[in-house]
Symmetry: C2
Subunit: 329 residues, 2 copies
């Protein structure tokens, strides 16, 4: 299997991207194409032992920067690493596209370059996040591709999410819920009420509304929402976790005895962080475009890049594209 | 000052409502009318020392139950404790209405019974929640009164929120932000983009978009959003905090040394809980109706009820109604 990695995308590219690619190539036995500036990539490759690994460089002369206007940059910078990586997939030279670059740009590059799967109204960006379910996580979409949606889009997000959760994440008969303001039927915005009504007859295991407080309890395996709400939720989770952790730290520091306790409990805190670590999941699949696409955080480190490549491999291996196409008919 | 408390509203009424009322009457020197079933209230009052306190009973023969249909119940149960309490305010027999009952019912009772302030398009439910700002909290609205809104409503929410934050919460020149998917101008849903454009010329200190991750950092003192998003955010905060705390607990339990540490650090954890305790703030004001209304959680305990009554007192004392009326002209 061949994965095309945008080696120039992300806050710490190409150092962490090359490192992550080498890591993934070794751990998973994949070919990882490093797309971008050949000199910069070669310099990074030299820092690693790549004996026996297949990590070829695919040249690209431009970069979509973090502060570029996404769709404009994708249109004008034809030879940007993202665009070149996408073309590798489009022309069958690789099976998946992975990037930690400008996420709006990544959306645009994938959408323009790969197109939508015929019948999909809007692609959705997904994420995996920790919950208290038996699996330890849920799959949420859309988390940012579509800030304005129609009920039909949400119904399709449920279908794509259910298939991904089942085929790629191994959750049997995933429970699909829709984010709303109350658990009872008929609660929520007009958009959600209409979508939920349609989802009741959709060919997946729709369990109804999921309130904010039940997103983390594991009531649903697949959490459907619009890209505005989903984006606010995942970013708010980041902010709130940080505030809680820093509150715990400062309260412990203010008490000498608690400080001793805090030191003794440190491995436990590390355990919590590891359990809740979003890096484990390696970014989110963009579902609905006609090519496997994984978009990960700009702040990704090498480990996240490695895991994003693994996520791409899983999606290819389990043929998520074929499953979605079959799901539409 | 006279406050009308719905003594029958909430999961633990009338025990905690009467307890909270007695507490508030003593601590703040207020008259707290206990509205509801006279026998049940009298039985609870006997459990407390009410010497020198003014906690009169105002009879009401019906109750809006937690599982009642809100607006229907408010219309048919004319003598429900909520309706009677609202009429006390409407007829000038008291200055504020406080309830921990069915929150949809409370919204309907206040809206039907008190009406909107002339010029206010939609009332908004607010909440105070902990942040890392210098004040330690922010003021958010709407958190559930309006699941479908128009840009103009959001502009008014900003005005009401700014006035409440300044007059009642004592925040000088409050920074008003709108929840969106990116901090840059022009990011977000069509609704938010249009609202933000109008807010730039509104007569308050509008600072632009606030991303999910910055809700807790204290970037803004007043956080404006629609009632769908706001409701999801505050309930998600509850769920996520619970998950984090229980993850910390179980990681600590799994390690003998960490368990000793956890015991030593216990006062620090209690400190965090106290700092982040939503009970401190005593529920949220319903802004835009023509009478001071505080709606607090059904699960409220006596301390929360006490604080909700304090919040009502503050809003009356600082004449929030007069400020909003003046703000409209």
């Amino acid at each position: 299997m061949i994965i095309s990695l945008d080696a120039m995308g992300g806050d710490h590219a190409p150092a962490v991207t090359v490192h992550g690619a080498v890591w993934a190539a070794r751990d998973f036995g994949l070919t990882v194409q490093l797309v971008g500036n050949p000199d910069a990539i070669a310099a990074e490759l030299k820092k690693h032992d790549t004996t026996g690994l297949d990590v070829p460089i695919v040249p690209a002369s431009e970069i979509i920067e973090m502060d570029d206007h996404p769709s404009q940059a994708v249109k004008t910078k034809k030879d940007a690493s993202m665009n070149v990586a996408v073309r590798q997939v489009k022309t069958g030279k690789s099976q998946a596209f992975v990037t930690a670059g400008n996420s709006g740009g990544a959306l645009a590059a994938a959408l323009f370059g790969l197109g939508r799967i015929r019948g999909i109204k809007r692609p959705a960006l997904s994420t995996i996040f920790p919950t208290q379910s038996e699996y330890g996580f849920a799959f949420m979409l859309d988390v940012g591709a579509n800030t304005d949606v129609k009920p039909e889009y949400l119904v399709q997000f449920g279908m794509m999410g259910s298939l991904y959760a089942e085929k790629v994440l191994g959750i049997a008969n995933p429970r699909v819920g829709i984010v709303s303001t109350g658990e009872e039927e008929g609660k929520g915005s007009m958009l959600v009420i209409e979508a939920a009504t349609k989802m009741k007859t959709a060919p997946y295991n729709f369990i109804g509304n999921v309130e904010g407080k039940d997103i983390t309890t594991g009531l649903a395996d697949v959490i459907v929402t619009d890209g505005f709400t989903g984006n606010v939720i995942i970013k708010f989770a980041e902010g709130l976790s940080k505030m809680l952790m820093s509150a715990i730290e400062s309260e412990i520091r203010a008490r000498p005895l608690a400080m001793v306790g805090g030191l003794l409990a440190k491995p436990a805190f590390r355990g919590v962080k590891a359990k809740l670590d979003y890096r484990e999941f390696g970014g989110g699949a963009l579902l609905g475009v006609d090519g496997v696409t994984i978009i990960t955080h700009g702040r990704s480190d090498a480990y996240t890049i490695r895991n994003a490549i693994r996520a791409a491999r899983d999606a290819v291996e389990k043929d998520i594209l074929g499953a979605i196409k079959a799901g539409l008919t």
